[in-house]
Symmetry: C2
Subunit: 212 residues, 2 copies
């Protein structure tokens, strides 16, 4: 194999495309721009990816994979659903770059309606939806949460998350990661009834009867 000055050109290309996507969005990420950013001839891109869509697809697959890895490693079957949820959410919010790429694409979809982006984001959302749905199902079977349609519950969770982390920022001071977490988990945990009327708020050392 050619092993001398051979830097991994494929990785270089993916990296460059990802940066461009995050900064300029899908439409403005032309193959010429990617080749320049990667410091590679345009033809080289086509030795690895047959089309622009395929390159884009690879990046979305990577992104989905990374998100899933972050979440999965924070889910421990012996812990309560809510502890897992809080941790998983925390992990996702912390993962800056992934998050920003998704936000950029969402913006582009809204203002340009780029079909490839719509498709990609739908696919991503479906993966997330399916994952949450299964977790909700498990939590129900364990009795951690009350009985309700897991599909609808998963759907509500995603929307609530987007509302807090993205939509709110459109017209207000963005919430910090901590605030998003706090709002998200406490709403799902307690609803909006006064503290003390039901399960315990985070203050106090009282432990919920869960594993561990």
């Amino acid at each position: 194999m050619t092993e001398r000055k051979t830097i991994d050109r494929k990785a270089l290309i993916v990296e460059a495309a990802r940066k461009s996507l995050t900064m300029f969005g899908y439409k403005a990420t032309t193959m010429d721009v990617v080749s320049k950013l990667a410091g590679v001839g345009k033809g080289t891109i086509y030795t690895f990816f047959a089309t622009k869509e395929e390159l884009f697809g690879e990046i979305m697959r990577q992104l989905t994979q990374e998100m899933k890895a972050i979440v999965v490693e924070r889910i421990v079957d012996s812990r309560s659903f809510f502890d897992n949820l809080t941790d998983a959410l925390h992990g996702v919010l912390q993962f800056r770059e992934t998050h920003e790429l998704v936000i950029k694409l969402t913006q582009e979809l809204r203002e340009l309606g780029t079909p490839a982006v719509r498709e990609a984001l739908t696919e991503l959302e479906n993966a997330v939806l399916l994952f949450i749905e299964k977790e909700v199902q498990k939590a129900q079977d364990k009795g951690d949460i009350r009985r309700m349609d897991p599909k609808l519950t998963a759907f509500m969770m995603i929307r609530m998350y987007v509302t807090l982390a993205i939509d709110w920022s459109a017209q207000h001071q963005p919430l910090t990661r901590e605030e998003v977490e706090e709002q998200f988990t406490s709403l799902f945990r307690y609803g909006i009834c006064p503290a003390g009327m039901q399960g315990e708020p985070d203050t106090g050392a009282g432990a919920v009867p869960s594993g561990s």
Copy 2:
């Protein structure tokens, strides 16, 4: 005064415009169409409304007014926040025509991005937001709900409502009015914790779920 065969042309025009708006949206509602539907010369419209925007504004003002009336008459200060919330939501959901106009305009905004529609819907949302915010504030002062940012809470409520009543239908069987009500109020009341763990669920016999 002229009281013979004088039908209220202004009302005729508003009615026609409202119908057209609900059926065809803002862009397709031309002044010619409105005049034909109202059975009135086009010039007549301009004796009541200086511009198309003004006619549209009048309809939106009417709509806001009607919605507000429905809600206000269902809010009784002596009742709990949740009882009021449930009733108010019920009222809004029942008010079909208003609802459909808003849905039509929302669709148009999404696919055409019509600026006048964006503006109108933003204004409507702000009115609703302000109203809910005040109610939340009152409920907090009464101790009906726990302490949290009223602006953010109001924002979340609207989004949650839209998620249930509109967004969900995009890819699934629409929820019935009853289902929307049930999902909305129970989430805010109890979160998603198991029944019996907190406030009173509607099922009479409190059966503890799978004990572990």
